[in-house]
């Protein structure tokens, strides 16, 4: 049970330290201090203000998630998006379904496409060598229905693999962009702000 405004601010600061830069953290603490000051000037009690703001732990979780999503948006990296997803999970257990599951599915999809591309890019040249050996009359390496066709198929499989790898890169960028928007929307719905400015 919170006793004072100072205790509220102390908990809020301790929960956000290490996540937010000092200047941004100080701004947020100043905002909340100001909110308490104005509230008290209007005759509201500390209990009333605590009740309207929510617990400092919940407030810290929302601020942390918002900050990490914005950070992931500004600086695209696996590390940042994973931090953003984990912070969003902390906003509610239901986000295991609405955030974690789609995230895992997309990551698996990207890995599948990537490894399929690598497999094709590696298999293509190897199969091309087999086609050449088959044309040379080595029956032990006769894997193609037609070795001449096999050379072209090998080339096609190789370039298809490279296309898959490159396509996977752009697919990852697309999912990243969509994922950030979804996380923002998710946080907005949970906090009741609908969208993060």
């Amino acid at each position: 049970m919170l006793q004072t405004e100072q205790e509220y601010i102390r908990i809020l600061r301790s929960r956000l330290e290490g996540t937010l830069p000092d200047d941004e953290l100080n701004d947020i603490i100043s905002d909340y201090t100001e909110h308490f000051r104005i509230g008290k000037a209007d005759g509201r009690t500390e209990e009333d203000l605590f009740s309207s703001l929510g617990s400092p732990e919940d407030v810290a979780r929302e601020i942390r998630a918002t900050h990490l999503v914005r950070k992931a948006e500004g600086d695209r990296s696996w590390k940042n998006i994973i931090h953003a997803v984990l912070a969003t999970l902390g906003l509610g257990l239901f986000n295991l379904v609405f955030v974690l599951v789609p995230f895992v599915i997309l990551v698996v999809l990207l890995f599948v496409v990537f490894f399929a591309g690598i497999a094709c890019a590696v298999f293509g040249p190897v199969a091309g060598i087999f086609a050449v050996l088959q044309m040379a009359g080595l029956p032990a390496f006769a894997i193609w229905q037609s070795p001449a066709a096999g050379i072209f198929f090998s080339l096609g499989i190789t370039t298809l693999g490279l296309l898959l790898v490159i396509g996977d890169y752009y697919l990852a960028r697309f999912f990243y962009h969509i994922g950030i928007r979804y996380l923002k929307w998710n946080i907005g719905v949970i906090t009741g702000t609908e969208q993060i400015p």
Binding site: A142, I143, Q145, S146, F153, L163, I166
Partner: protein
């Protein structure tokens, strides 16, 4: 374009104008896509010219050799002076075709379209009192063939038409087509786990002939000559029985003019799930 205009376009160009070795990513992707398409078109073109594309009715489309079709394993079991035979065929999974047409000195000729060597069946033969016994059994396969995933497992068995034989057929899963019209059958036993079974029998007017056909899941079609003296007991767990040219006699189906005092064909059909079709042809 002015310098300020170029500067304004730079942010939008960061991703689209990604360059590798001085060539933009878009050009690389387009080149790769073009090479891929042209390569496959030429490949299929060569395949079509060499007769590999489109695939035949019994083949699946594959760029790779179906080693099974390229290396059929044909085995002939000689009669060795025998005047009768016992034949047992056991196929785990695949397609089985049995018909007459083996050479005179041969009891059966078997062509196995299967992956060598682990898919090749085991052959056991013996002779006892002028009766030759042959067992052909697929022992199962464990290996993985990487380049012909859909390679078939298919047997074609030709049986001597003049030598009387007792035939037993066991198929785990797959379709069986037994054209036995020209074969001199003494008895027939068919067990098929899952798949369609078609059996065509001949006329055996001078002796009694017994046949038992069990089919687990799938359709079972039995054809007999209309002039044959045949009685069929048919049971099906789940499915219809359709008869054409038969007279229903209680739980049995008999050919027109059936006379139990004469030698007749007694056939028992046991079907789990699927239709039974009885025809006189």
């Amino acid at each position: 374009m002015t310098e300020s205009g170029e500067r304004q376009q730079q942010p939008a160009c960061i991703h689209a104008c990604l360059k590798i070795g001085g060539i933009s990513a878009a050009r690389i992707v387009l080149w790769l896509a073009a090479i891929t398409i042209v390569s496959f078109v030429i490949g299929f073109g060569i395949l079509a010219l060499s007769g590999g594309f489109p695939p035949g009715p019994d083949e699946s489309l594959s760029l790779f050799r179906h080693s099974a079709f390229y290396t059929p394993n044909t085995t002939e079991v000689p009669l060795d002076g025998a005047v009768a035979g016992d034949i047992a065929l056991t196929l785990g999974a695949g397609e089985l075709r049995v018909r007459g047409g083996a050479p005179d000195a041969v009891l059966i000729g078997t062509t196995v379209f299967s992956r060598a060597p682990e898919w090749q069946p085991e052959l056991v033969q013996s002779i006892n009192n002028s009766r030759k016994s042959v067992e052909i059994t697929e022992k199962g396969h464990k290996g993985k063939e990487w380049f012909a995933v859909d390679s078939p497992n298919s047997w074609t068995v030709l049986v001597n038409e003049k030598v009387p034989v007792r035939l037993e057929v066991n198929v785990g899963a797959g379709d069986s087509t037994l054209d036995l019209r020209k074969i001199t059958l003494e008895s027939l036993t068919v067990n098929n786990g899952a798949g369609d079974t078609t059996v065509e029998l001949g006329n055996y007017p001078d002796r009694r002939f017994d046949a038992t056909i069990r089919n687990g899941v799938g359709d079972l079609t039995l054809r007999v000559p209309p002039e044959s003296n045949t009685r069929i007991h048919a049971e099906t767990g789940l499915g219809d029985i359709t008869s054409n040219g038969f007279v229903q006699d209680g739980d049995s189906f008999v050919t027109a003019g059936f006379n139990p005092s004469l030698a007749f064909n007694e056939i028992t059909l046991n079907q789990g799930v699927g239709s039974i079709i009885l025809e006189t042809l």
